[in-house]
Amino acid sequence: MLAEFLQYLFTGITIGATYALIALGFTLIYNASHVINFAQGEFLMIGGMATVSLTAMGVPMVLAVVLAVILAGVLGIALQRLAIAPAKQADVVTLIIITIGASIFIRGIAQVVWGKQYHVMQNFSTNEPIEVFGAVLNSQSLWVLGIGAIMVVGLVLFFTKTLIGKAILATSMNKEAARLVGIRTQMVLMLAFMVSALLGSVAGIVVAPITFTSYDIGIILGLKGFVAAAIGGLGSGVGAVVGGLALGIVEAMAAGYISSDYKDAVAFSMILLVLFFMPRGLFGAKVVERV
């Protein structure tokens, strides 16, 4: 009984941590520009695929990871420079549509470069599962949780302690005012895209051993990550994490105790409930309108 519950919980936390990492990427760009970057899933894919193909070429794992993350960072900058920046005066919805276009473009290129099949990545440490009270945990789940925790803490520190982080927050609150106090808002936006691409690619790399990776993995995971971010309240780092974990755990519990047929339905009902009673999500900021 306990073993069963623990098993569902572990499963839920593993899936949930994946969602949470992706949700964090959404949060970052949303904070900087109020844009929801639907190419976030593609950074995830780039991270996983680049690592897999580099290791297949004989590059050592650690170096492959670093190169993949750098590649994603460069892509993030390119996305901002080449697609978002030229549409300077466009409103947020237009920018969101641009990110959707960019995601389709990146996916298309990835399909040509890496082909359409699924790829495997080895677990970072052992393949042996870990047993806790009769339930088993994939050792990779610990990596996902650990790296996820580090990234969350890192992000919080970044936004509260560093000048760049504060500049990003300032830009998100009022672009004009930020510019007046000497913040180069275009530069800040570029940084936000880069950091979020880095985050996305790291997420893609740590989850790849669990989910496999392919050119279109970003669609599914990106969507779930977005849902997690919405539950948590767009723009809140803590919200992204709680939203992701909650979504994962609800899914796993529903699959285990009710029926896997209703798993997605239960997850959707949860989103509806949350957004119905708390339209800004669990941790969403209160809107203060000044006149």
Binding site: I15, Q117, Y118, V136, T211, S260
Partner: protein, 385 residues
């Protein structure tokens, strides 16, 4: 009198000349083979090798002089695994491209969406999808090359029965392939006096199936587990199965019969069994097996040309194209009705998938024995039966 004779002769000559012109025009005109496949999208691992196979053998047949002295022309569309685009493309193939025969339809959904159109337009159609509904009940213009999921269920359950297993846990994907496989398994199990004691599902985009498997593990009396699905889902199921340390005999369907599945599932796949085409074990086939040469040739040619591993799905396209060519040759023309009749009467065609014996009652032409039972041993497919 002479005048009328002259006139008649003139008419005859005119008719003959017109006929000759038509014939020579026809000789120059290629035979159009239409196709709609899921080359990209979630079912791309079906459509991709299928398209490569069609392209490669159309080229090869053309180099060798074509069919009935005419070249083949492949007209192809990518339906992205989407049933409604499949229907649109089928309509385009029939109406504007005016193809002579259609070989395609990677998934059951795409195939079934196109069937009503094809039946109406009366064009011979060879589907590359698995579900039993495609050719049962028999539809006049529709044929298919893969064994049906019902045969797979029969073959798996028969193998279980040989091992003394009567109570099974079933896990299946919610996609077309998985849900049809589930229905067939439930029916066949009842017929064979076996019991499905646990019955759970997962969706194609799930990244962890531990919860579902735990559910099966906690069900009393399960003696073996069967997973019906395709894509990366079954590979994740296999890994989760190993992680949970489940020791019961594990079966997969033919939906994962490819070397890439072994790569994805890795050591977790050890000991699992599945029904598959002999394509996965060409060299372990006995010398007197009629399929051995066909299978070896296809594998060698495909791998040399595309520098990637063959898959069972490409073989469905190979058989589909070869059946089409054979039917056109037998019919001696591309007249749709004649080609259809010829298809229906194909006997003893030895393909990669099996030996096809079509009849008016059977538009698939294979029996359950064309499936071989394979087991994964030391990371490789091993022929068991």
């Amino acid at each position: 009198m002479l005048k009328t004779m002259m006139r008649r002769a003139g008419k005859c000559a005119a008719v003959a000349a017109a006929g000759l012109m038509m014939m020579s025009a026809q000789a120059a005109e290629p035979i159009k083979i239409g196709s709609f496949l899921s080359v990209t999208g979630p079912a791309s691992f079906l459509g991709d090798p299928e398209l490569k196979t069609l392209e490669m053998y159309v080229e090869k047949i053309n180099e060798e002089g074509g069919v009935l002295g005419r070249q083949l022309e492949l007209i192809h569309y990518d339906d992205v695994g989407n049933a409604s685009s499949a229907r649109n493309f089928a309509s385009r193939l029939i109406r504007s491209d005016q193809v002579d025969i259609i070989v395609g339809g990677s998934t059951t959904g795409a195939t079934m969406a196109a069937v009503p159109l094809i039946e109406q337009a009366q064009v011979p159609f060879i589907s590359l999808a698995g579900a039993v509904v495609i050719t049962t009940p028999v539809k006049k213009w529709v044929f298919k090359t893969p064994q049906s999921d019902r045969m797979a269920a029969e073959r798996i359950l028969a193998d279980m029965k040989n091992r003394g297993i009567t109570k099974i846990g079933l896990i299946s994907g919610t996609g077309g392939f998985g849900s049809s496989g589930r229905t067939q398994t439930l029916e066949v199990a009842e017929k064979m006096g076996m019991e499905v004691v646990a019955d759970v599902t997962y969706s194609g985009s799930d990244t962890d199936m531990t919860a579902q498997l735990t559910n099966i593990r906690n069900t009393k009396g399960v003696e073996a587990v069967l997973n019906f699905g395709f894509g990366q889902g079954p590979a994740i199921v296999t890994r989760n199965y190993a992680q949970l340390g489940m020791e019961l005999p594990f079966y997969q369907s033919h939906g994962v019969a490819s070397d890439s599945f072994l790569e994805l599932a890795g050591s977790s796949a050890e000991g699992l069994r599945l029904p598959a085409s002999p394509l996965l074990v060409p060299d372990s086939l006995p010398e007197d097996d009629p399929q051995k040469e066909v299978v070896q040739n296809y594998k060698a040619e495909y791998e040399a040309r595309w520098d990637s591993k063959v898959s069972t799905f490409g073989a469905y396209a190979y058989d589909g194209l070869m059946l089409a060519v054979r039917a056109i040759e037998e019919a001696g023309s591309t007249d749709p009705a004649a080609v259809r009749d010829a298809l229906e009467n194909i006997k003893g065609y030895v393909g990669v998938t099996g030996e096809f014996n079509m009849s008016p009652e059977d538009h698939n032409g294979l029996d359950a024995d064309s499936f071989r039972i394979l087991e994964v041993q030391n990371g490789e497919w091993k022929l068991i039966d």
